[in-house]
Structures are given as C-alpha cells and as structure tokens.
C-alpha cells in the first residue's frame, strides 16, 4: 500500500506526478512537491533515525530547517552527504537516503542498548570516565567517535562545482514570509535595489499553511498577487532555496543558494550550490519564529511532532500523520491545527496546560466534538517505534504539582505547541542585543547595532494585522532612509481565525520531583540532552549558560539548538529561581545552518587554489623533464634527471658539472626591487646592517636585513646602477615581505626620504651561469669585456648578450666563477636556448634548487629561512663582518646590545662533519648533550642544512649549536629517529675553497 496517509484531497503536491525514491533500501512513491519527510509520513514511515547518544528511535519533529531528529544520509558515492534534514530535502526521481547512527538497521539497532544503560551515561560521562590515564584518550576517542557520531563523510572527491557571487545592494531582506514580502514590496515600489532571500522553494512562509483573510477576502489569493507584483519588479531580486548563513560587520552577509541540489541529474552548466557574499546598505530581518517543544517524559518518540509541523504536512502536502491525534498545548493558536485535523477526518483530543480557554475556541471544540482536558499535562508516552499511548494527569498550578488520577489516551500522533521563539540567530550574529519578553516567554530583539530593521514575528510581533502594515511601512522607511521616494502606504485588514496569544513556558514544571529519575524529558533532541542533565550540570557547578551548554552539549548539534535553547534557559531559570534575563543566553555564531565546505571554497580548488608563478623559461624546463619544487607560489626546477637517474645521481652530476665546467640555473624567481631617488643610499644604510655610502656605480654588495629585534630576516645583493639608482635582490620567498618592509619605513617613519621602490621581479629573466668555464663560454656571446681586470668579482656591467640588452652581475652563490645574466623577461627563453646551444662544448648542465643548495652549503653560504629562523642575529651566524660598527643607526642595531642578544650561550652557526663519513644527518635533528634511550635529553642545538657533498665525497652539515664558536673540533652526538646515535665533529662553516679563490678567478 502506498501513500496510505495521504488525504483524499488537499495539499499542494502534484498528484499527477509520482516520484520514486528509496529510503533504507526500500522503494516508495511520493509526489512532486513533497519533501522526503512528507513523502515518508505519507507512506506511514515514522522511524527515521536513531538518536546521537542513547540510540533512541526518532521520527520527524518539525517541517523545516530547525529539524533536530530527522537527519539522514543523502545520496551515494562521492556525492553522499551526511546530516541532511529530511524536512528540507525536495523529492526528486531516484532519490536515495538512509538512516544514520544505527547498526545493523534503524529497526534493530545494537546501539539502542545505550538507552537502557542511560543511568551511567549522564552529562559529562565521557569527561569523567575517560580521563585516566591521559595518554589513553586518543584510544578511547576512536571508539567514542564511532559510537556517538552522526552520518558518514564521503571518501571520494566531490565531483560537483560550486560558485561564489559577490553582490552589492541597497536593501537585503532575509525571509520571504508575509513580513519579508511586504517589506520587499514597500522598498521595491520605492525603486531601490532589493534582494529578498528565502530558504524555502516557495515564498509565503507560515501563511502558506494557515487560513487567513485580507480585507475579508481569501488571503491566499492576495498573497499570490503580492508575490506576482514582486516578481514583476525589475529592481527586486528574489533568491529562493537560499539560506542566509552569516551576518558580519557593516551589513556583510553570506548566503547559500541550493541551485541544483534538488535536480534529478546534476547539471554540467550550473553549479550545485552558489555562495553569495552580500554587502547591503540596509538589512531587514524577517526570518519569523520557530515553534517551541514542550518538555515531558519521553517527548521524543516518533509520532510526536510540533503542531505547526502537523499543520504543514496536512495543508501543504496533504498528509495526515495520524488518525487519533492528541494536541498538547499551552496556547490558543495551536487549536487551529486541531480544527484542521478534525476537518480532514482525524479524531482529536486536546490537552491544555491552562485552565482558562477563549470562549469562541471552546465553542468550536464542542461543535467539532473535540475533548479538551484543561489544566492537564502529558506526563508519559509509550510505544516502541512510534507513540501509541500517553498518560495525562491534572496540574495543580498553585502547588506546582500533579494531582488526581492518571488517565490513559490511545493515540498515533501527538502534536505539541509550547509557544514560539523568534529566529534571532542572525540578529545576534550582527551583535544585536536580546531581552527576555515575559509576555511571550522568549528572547526578543532589543538593541540593534547594524544599519538594520527587524520585523514581524522575528521581532516578537505575532499579530497578523499589525505585521501587515508595519512590515510594508518598514520597507518604505528603509528606502526612504536611503533617499528613495516615498510611496503610498496601504492599510490591509488581516484576520486569522485564532490570533496568537501569549504562552507560558513551563518546560518541565509538571512532575519536576521525578524529573531526574526514570523516563527522559528531552530538552535537546539532537544531542540527547534531558532535563535531568541540565539539573546535574547545575548541581556540579556548571552554572553559567556557557558552561551548562558545554557540559551537557545542549544546543551544540547541527541544529544549534533552534528548538531547544529557550527551554534549556527557562529550566535553568526555574532551577536557580532567577529571571531568564539574569541567566542570559549563549552566543550565536555563523553559520546559521550547516553548509558545505565546497561552497565556501567555491572555485578556489585544484589548480585555482593558489596562483602558480612560472618563469619565462618554465616551458623549457618542462620539456627537458625537470622535477619541480614549490617555492612560495613559484614553480622552480628541483633537478633535471637524465635517463633513469634518481635525485642523488642527478644532483651529483649537476654539482660536479658546476665545479668542473659549466652549470646554468634559472634564478628568475629571486626578488628584485628597483630603488631610485636622491636618498637611496641613505635609505640602504638604514635598511641593511652594512655601509652603502661608498659603493661605486657598477659595484655590487651583499647585504643583510634585520628587523628591529635584531633578527635576520632577509639577505641579497644590491648593485649601484647609477647615481641614485640601485637594483636590490631578495630571497625568492621574501620578495613581497621585503618590498612591504621598505614601503613601511618610507611611508611611516622617514616620510622626508626621497626614494621610490618598484618590484621588478617579473620584469627580468635571470640566467645564472657558474663554473670555471663560464667566462670562456660567455665571451663569445656578449660585447661586454669579461676580462678579470675590467670586470672583476662583485661588479656589474651593462651590454648585449645574444643580441639582447642585458645587465650582467658578477656575483656567485656557488663559490665558482659566475655571471648572473639579467635580460628582459620576454627574452628569457630565447637567451636560455642560445646558451644551451653554445654551451654544448662545455657540457653546459642545467641544475635545479637542490644542486644550488648543496653548492652553497659547501661554501657555508646561509639560506635565510632555512639556516635562520627569525631568532638569530648576524652575530649568531658568525656574520659580524657585515655589521657596520661606524653607522650610528640602522634597523635592528639597538637590539644587538640587549642582554638577550649578547648572551654567550646563544646557539651559533657551525659546520658538522659526521665521523663515519657517510651518514647524511636529517635536517631538524637535535644535537644533545648526552644520548639517552628516550627523551627527555638535554638539547644543545639542531641541524639546519645537511647534504652529501659530491665535490668532497662525504656528507656535510650546518647547525645551530649552543656556544658553538668555542666548540670547534669538539665531538657532538645526534640521536636519530631510528635509534642510531651519530657522532660528529664541530667545524667552521666553509667546507670547500676556504680562501675563496675560485670565484675571484
């Protein structure tokens, strides 16, 4: 039998369009317009999942985004998604969903034994039980996570596309119920740019499900007209299926639009979801309110749902969730649902916590044959996988206790209504302040911080008549404040059969003495938090709301307590006998509802995650099989393997080629800054530790930069191109940082200095040729006189190289005779290829960053960021030679005399040679005072660079060692991860060509 709970007529589903779907492996039929929840209820499926902690049977509590119980695993394979609310899933052909948190099945769930062991699972159970020993937590956690989890994450990569949209508008209205629609109409008629956001597939909100009249005519037709007019306004953009997720400073909102989630096939042209980033001059919040559950024993059984949800299933989807229905309420408005159910053929009994009932309501109940138990409460429910019986008892409000006989009612559906809570989440995110309203017993907006209005039931205002006119006027007023013309006000007369009345929140009052024993009075359905847990938290001293929340986990689920928060606070207020305002509330944070990470990432995935920077020779490297390494965003050749060489073989070959003949390195990624201005030399004197005043045109100088703490933060060679014109180079990774550093001081400290900095990193391609044959090689390709006398070491010359205008610097990072040839970037590959061709007779060998590192380590040249880590001074690096004693001031100088920087036992930069002449120490290894079997060991330093040196035939290492300069020749020990202990001898840092003859050739 299919759709056995569907009413004969009614509802807005399209009964001509059946839709096949699968739940827990079983096929069902729903109709177009159904949600998964309504289609399941129509097919008499009430058991949807198992609860988080006790694995209790759970059904469908609500009909909207606040749903805590009916969360399912949706879809299969790479597209599967956990924790999706069945109440929001629009049915599509072939949909597959399954229950979560149960094994082997939702009907027979092993974990349900937790329910019978619940006495030992109170709030704080895990904290108390798995505390000792601390090291075991990771072991326990594995099993706890498994037992107390929700759905499963997909393991494959998500194949869908997500997009982001930046949007600027005059007014954003959140919520497409009656208030939001009328505000949009008021603002829209005024002509300003309006964005209306609603999370549902259909506009209209609450009024879609209830009967009402406007000017004494059918309200639904009027509502349709309003929506039609809005659709026709070019200045109004309407986003349906879009949830406002975050509300940040200066009216910045984020919203998630479901674009194709509800489609049968995923589109190849449309994204699955679109993430909106909205900046709005004004925001009008009109999100409405959530109905509040009542707290009684076993209030969580399938078949127990909110009255408004019952109303929606019946009137929107034509689904009668039960035939013998009990309405448990503390307010009049819920009686509308009772009447609706009777009309569609259900037998209804009302249990009302109050003793006074509106006369007209009373009359109508009598005429519809509805039994009303006044001053009664539901005290217990029964039914294994669905409610089948309840117990009720009279309430003595004065004595605050139950009295009289316990009566039984057989039922298949309990509708409950404990009043309404405005959806203040976004308002609170915008730092709006809340106050507790004693008339409607809930938190309502008080003080607005942003340029914002909040209207309708979202503002605690539930009267239809007042909301109609005030909402429309709020829209007009907002437009007015943005200097748009006023439009005429309209007066509508709106009527509901029963107006909202005030409700008392008495969450558990009834039977409070027994509350901690036996059955469970659920406050937070998703996290299985009961009234007893809230009591326990108070007894154990977790009295602040924030502590109660974290200790009990109330309000911490994927629903973030949309149905539970106010009840928890009301209960705390009762326990402490304090007004709720004094109890306060927890902080609301984005996102408003769970959202996909994919949407936040948008298109910034894979290749688009981070820009890739490539030099002008990059394609040559690719064609010649370079292995690349990422240096910041740059792609740099790591090494160039030939035949089947591994990295060690390739690096060895490349190193020896440079030492013996000729190597070529693409050094284009080095940071390059062009400095010009009459104060450039003065500026360099302040920025670098050494002196620059006497540098001649055509000369280069190595410089070290320190921050004001005296710590090294970059280095490089700067050359004087002309009077007042310098070319500065920086490390590849430090280029942007150095540029900012220069700008900072020029713009904030030395405003009178006339210096201009321009980043020219990408304007120049740099070909660094190095090796004893480099002069011979370059001689044939340039008009520059390369003779030792006319172009010595640390000089710069301009001329032509391969017919291209070039700047050639005679500087060396390898210790060999070297030339750094800079040509305009667009000629980079041309010159590179000419070099490769002409260099054949010298066996010119392209080398990568690894060979560069080995060669410079053999010479003891530091790499800032590898050998230094932001905590070392020039003195620590044995580089006092580059710190001027004469300059009165430069950045970092003052800190060199701080007591900490002059300390003798600071770590110093030394070389290490392993005694076995074969172990390459892993970089990062510790040098210890004495090697023990296991830590702790007293540490003396660490290895910063370590390589096998092909030139020398044995490994070399650079290290930071405590008081290292006075330990030359001494033995140290380095324990490795594999248990081996390596002995090494402390040396200076230059391993090859100590006199520096080779680069002076």
């Amino acid at each position: 039998m299919s759709n056995q709970n569907r009413t004969i007529y009614g509802g807005k589903v399209n009964r001509e369009k059946p839709i096949n779907f699968v739940f827990n492996g079983k096929s069902y039929i729903g109709y177009q317009g159904d949600t998964l929840a309504s289609a399941l209820l129509a097919n008499d499926v009430h058991l949807i999942g198992r609860s988080f902690k006790y694995h209790r049977a759970r059904g469908i509590l609500t009909a909207g985004s606040e749903e805590p119980n009916a969360i399912v695993q949706l879809g299969l394979g790479a597209r599967t998604e956990p924790n999706i609310r069945a109440t929001e899933i629009e049915l599509y052909e072939g949909l597959e969903a399954s229950s979560q948190n149960c094994w082997p099945s939702v009907n027979f769930d092993i974990g349900a034994m937790n329910n019978f062991l619940s006495r030992i699972f109170p709030a704080g159970f895990y904290y108390k039980t798995f505390k000792w020993p601390p090291s075991m937590w990771l072991f326990y956690e594995h099993f706890i996570r498994k037992a107390a989890g929700l759905g499963q994450s997909p393991t494959a990569k998500n194949p869908d596309r997500y997009e982001q949209k930046f949007y600027y508008t005059d007014i954003t209205i959140v919520g497409g119920g009656i208030s939001g629609l009328l505000a949009a109409l008021g603002a829209g008629r005024s002509g300003c740019k309006v964005l209306l956001i609603d999370e549902n597939p259909e506009l209209g909100g609450y009024l879609l499900d209830y009967n009402f009249s406007i000017n004494e005519k059918d309200g639904k037709k009027w509502l349709k007209k309003i929506i039609e007019e809005l659709n026709g306004l070019a200045n109004v953009t309407i986003l349906k299926r879009t949830t406002a997720m975050g509300y940040y400073d200066y009216n910045y909102l984020t919203a998630l639009e479901k674009v194709t989630n509800h489609h049968v096939e995923f589109s190849s042209t449309l994204p699955r979801e679109r993430y909106w980033r909205i900046r709005s001059k004004k925001v009008i919040l009109a999100q409405g309110a959530f109905e509040r559950p009542l707290v009684f024993a076993d209030n969580d059984r399938p078949g127990i749902m909110m009255a408004s949800a019952g109303q929606k299933y019946l009137s929107r989807y034509g689904v009668l969730p039960g035939k013998s229905v009990v309405l448990f309420t503390n307010n009049d408005h819920a009686y509308l649902t009772a009447f609706e159910f009777v009309e569609k053929g259900a037998k209804v009994t009302v249990v009302d916590t109050r003793d006074l009932l509106n006369a007209r309501t009373s009359e109508k109940c009598k005429s519809l044959n509805i039994t009303v138990y006044k001053s009664y409460s539901v005290i217990k429910t029964y039914g294994n996988k669905k409610v089948n019986r309840i117990e009720i008892q009279q309430v003595d409000k004065n004595q605050n206790q139950l009295t009289g006989e316990v009566e039984n009612i057989h039922t298949d559906c309990v509708l409950m209504s404990g009043g309404w809570n405005p959806a203040v989440q976004l308002f609170s995110q915008s730092r709006g302040k809340l106050k507790y309203d004693l008339k409607i017993n809930t938190f309502v907006p008080d003080k607005i911080i942003e340029n914002q209005k909040i209207i309708g039931s979202n503002n605690g205002q539930f009267n239809l008549q007042e909301n109609l006119n005030e909402s429309f006027e709020a829209g007009i007023a907002a437009a007015n404040e943005l200097n748009f013309n006023s439009v005429e006000k309209v007066n509508w007369t709106g009527k509901e059969e029963i107006e909202f009345t005030h409700s008392d929140v008495e969450p558990y009052m009834l039977g409070k003495k027994k509350v901690t024993k036996g059955s469970k009075h659920f406050i937070d359905f998703q996290n299985d938090v009961t009234a007893a847990d809230i009591f326990l938290a108070q007894r154990e001293g977790y009295i602040s709301v924030e502590h109660t929340k974290r200790y009990t986990t109330t309000g911490m689920g994927t629903d973030q307590g949309k149905t539970s928060n106010v009840n928890a606070l009301a209960l705390m207020s009762h326990i402490h006998n304090k007004p709720v305002d004094e109890i306060g509330h927890t902080t609301f944070r984005p996102p408003y509802a769970p959202q996909t990470i994919g949407a936040i990432a948008g298109r910034s995935v894979d290749k688009l995650f981070d820009p890739e920077r490539k030099t002008s020779m990059h394609e040559w490297h690719v064609e010649n099989k370079a292995v690349f390494e990422d240096v910041g965003q740059w792609k740099r050749p790591y090494y160039f393997p030939q035949n089947k060489e591994d990295i060690h073989q390739a690096v060895k070959r490349e190193c020896l080629a440079v030492r013996n003949s000729l190597g070529i390195l693409d050094a284009s990624t080095l940071g390059k800054i062009d400095l010009q201005g009459p104060d450039a030399a003065k500026f360099l004197n302040m920025i670098y530790t050494n002196a620059w005043s006497k540098l001649e045109i055509g000369s280069c100088r190595y410089g070290l930069m320190c921050n004001e703490h005296g710590m090294i933060f970059d280095d490089g060679v700067t050359s004087k191109l002309g009077e007042n014109h310098y070319h500065m180079t920086t490390t590849t990774g430090g280029a942007a940082r150095v540029m900012s550093w220069l700008e900072e001081f020029l713009q904030t400290e030395w405003l009178d200095m006339k210096v201009f900095c321009t980043s020219v990193t990408e304007q120049w391609a740099v070909l660094s040729i190095s090796g004893p044959n480099s002069r011979e090689f370059l001689k044939d390709l340039t008009n520059i006189d390369l003779s030792k006398e006319s172009f010595p070491f640390m000089k710069f010359r301009e001329g032509e190289v391969c017919g291209v205008k070039a700047r050639v610097f005679r500087i060396s990072f390898t210790g060999e005779l070297s030339y750094e040839v800079n040509v305009p970037a667009r000629y980079g590959r041309y010159v590179w290829e000419k070099f490769m061709e002409h260099g054949k007779k010298y066996n010119i060998t392209p080398y990568g960053t690894e060979t560069m590192h080995v060669l410079r380590a053999e010479k003891g040249f530091i790499i800032v960021g590898q050998d230094t880590d932001g905590s070392v001074t020039p003195s620590d690096m044995n580089m006092d030679w580059i710190v001027s004693k004469k300059k009165e001031d430069f950045l970092g100088k003052r800190s060199f005399t701080r007591s900490d920087t002059v300390r003798h036992d600071r770590k110093k930069f030394v070389g290490l040679l392993v005694n076995d002449k074969k172990t390459v120490l892993p970089e990062g290894s510790h040098i210890v005072e004495k090697a023990l079997k296991q830590p702790p060991m007293k540490m003396l330093g660490h290895i910063t660079s370590s390589y096998y040196s092909p030139t020398l035939g044995y490994p070399i290492a650079l290290a930071m060692l405590k008081d290292g300069f006075s330990k030359m020749g001494e033995q140290v020990v380095v324990p490795l991860m594999n248990g081996k202990i390596i002995e090494a001898t402390v040396t200076d840092t230059i391993f090859y060509d100590k006199e520096g003859k080779r680069n002076n050739e």
């Binding site: 200066y250 700008e743 003052r894 701080r898």
Partner: protein, 94 residues
C-alpha cells in the same frame, strides 16, 4: 568584515587591507642613547584599549599606501581614516 575608507582610493572591502597594529608609535630618534627599557617599550608595549583605538593599515591590494584608522574596538565602527603624518584626531566624549 569592514568597509574601509582609504584616504587615497575611497571605500573598499576589508579584504584589500592589512592591519598593522597601534599607530602613532614613533621610532626613537636616538636608539643608541636610550635604555633597554625604553627600547623595549617601543618594541613591545601596546595599548589594547577598549574603545577608541588608533591603528595603522595598508591598502595592500590597492594603492599600497599606509594610513591611520581611528576605530572603536567595542562596536568596530571606523570613526575616521587619515593619512600618515596627519595629527592624531581628538577622542570625543560623546
């Protein structure tokens, strides 16, 4: 997410800017003559007020200029932005 009025470019989204902490801390003219304590004060000590704060920002993804921002740390309202070198505005008592 603020909207910041760059004194050179006008109103732009916060993502274009970087904050660099408290403003109006001048580098001492004579570092070699001052005590460790005074130097330490320049390097490390900051106000962190509740209320009006003066801070340095850069328009990195724009004109790359440094400027000062007067911001209320409680409400996050930016009261004023002004160029480097301009006088520190008075804090009104309203």
């Amino acid at each position: 997410m603020f909207i910041i009025n760059c004194p050179y470019c006008g109103e732009r989204d916060q993502t274009e800017f970087t904050c660099h902490g408290e403003a109006h801390i001048a580098r001492p003219d004579n570092p070699s003559e001052i005590s460790d304590e005074e130097w330490g004060r320049y390097l490390f000590f900051r106000e962190n007020p509740k209320g009006t704060h003066f801070e340095r920002w850069t328009h990195d993804h724009g004109c790359r200029r440094w400027f000062n921002v007067m911001r209320d740390t409680v409400t996050d309202q930016i009261i004023k932005t002004y160029k480097m070198g301009e006088a520190k505005p008075e804090i009104s008592n309203e």
